[in-house]
């Protein structure tokens, strides 16, 4: 009896050598037929999905932060474009753009829209990553505050 859509349980590592070789050959053949556009699209989607998964991962801590600059770098690597050329294309001064990467200036909607159109991603994705990272920083500062709050002369002198 077919139970809806249940698949498995299967273990890919228990495939026979023959089957593993057959599947590997099929994968290579499939890959050899991929158009340059498809190869590029897959590489870009890898970065975009990485952003989406990072955004939704509740287990990310401050030490694991991935900045907007990190994702821009990944995208530009795929496209074979350097940061200077990218900045020029989106009509930004390179030094100015670096200030946004370093959070010396706040990443804003206009920049999000430029990035989203250039990289073919949703605009809110960039803004949400910025907000997530700001909250992680805030959380770290709060933890530091709590850690050091015991060092208070009032506690030593037991002043109410």
């Amino acid at each position: 009896m077919v139970t809806e859509v249940t698949i498995g349980p299967n273990d890919g590592h228990t495939r026979s050598k023959e089957k593993a070789a057959e599947m590997s050959a099929l994968a290579k053949l499939h890959h050899s037929k991929r158009s340059p556009e498809r190869l590029l699209k897959n590489a870009m989607l890898k970065v975009q999905y990485g952003m989406e998964h990072y955004l939704q991962d509740e287990q990310v801590s401050f030490d694991d932060i991935l900045t907007i600059e990190h994702f821009v770098t990944d995208f530009l690597k795929v496209l074979g474009i350097n940061k200077t050329a990218f900045a020029r294309f989106i009509e930004m001064d390179g030094a100015n753009l670096n200030k946004y990467y370093r959070s010396d200036r706040r990443f804003n909607t206009e920049l999000a829209l430029k990035f989203s159109h250039f990289f073919h991603t949703p605009a809110d994705l960039w803004l949400k990553i910025q907000i997530k990272n700001e909250l992680l920083l805030l959380q770290k500062e709060k933890e530091a505050d709590e850690k050091y709050s015991k060092y208070d002369y009032e506690k030593l002198l037991q002043i109410a």
């Binding site: 009896m1 139970t3 698949i7 498995g8």
Partner: protein, 182 residues
Amino acid sequence: MKVKIIEVATAEEVAALIKKGKVAEMPSIQQDWRFNFDKELKKLKNATGYFLVTEETPEVVEGCMIFQLIEKKEPYMAFVEVAPHNKKDKKKYDRVAGCLIAYAYQLSLTEGWEHFKGYLQFDVMEQNKEDEKKLMSVYSSKYHAKRIGDTTMLIADDDGDALVAEYLTPLKDKKDGQDKSS
């Protein structure tokens, strides 16, 4: 990962989440599932369990999926099952399996190695060959999978894009007329 599923009784969208699951959180046959996800996950090398829950009832697992990276390179969907209360005439929520399978495809892009990137394989193996054929047909029609071997099916490239667009893109952004059921 935030997703939307459909409550069958009302046809309303319900906010849900796909989360990475620890072994202890995985469902089992004691809870009327067909398999013991906890035991199966422990046995598999390079495998991660994911489950889907609604935001309203995060303690109730609506569906489970185990994603495996064969030899740390080759994306493989080792296991998919929806909760007993989401099966057949008892179905409470629709689109649960679709969301999990689409998420597995996304993982094939983020985790897959070289020519295996965006190449999600899985095996359909039932005791009865007729059931196997029927299940393959379901995966072809509903989840854009193609048969590439005796029991092996594949979701890749355009098919993967279509799957993600159907199940992981906000429903309100979809064009009219698309089948949204899983």
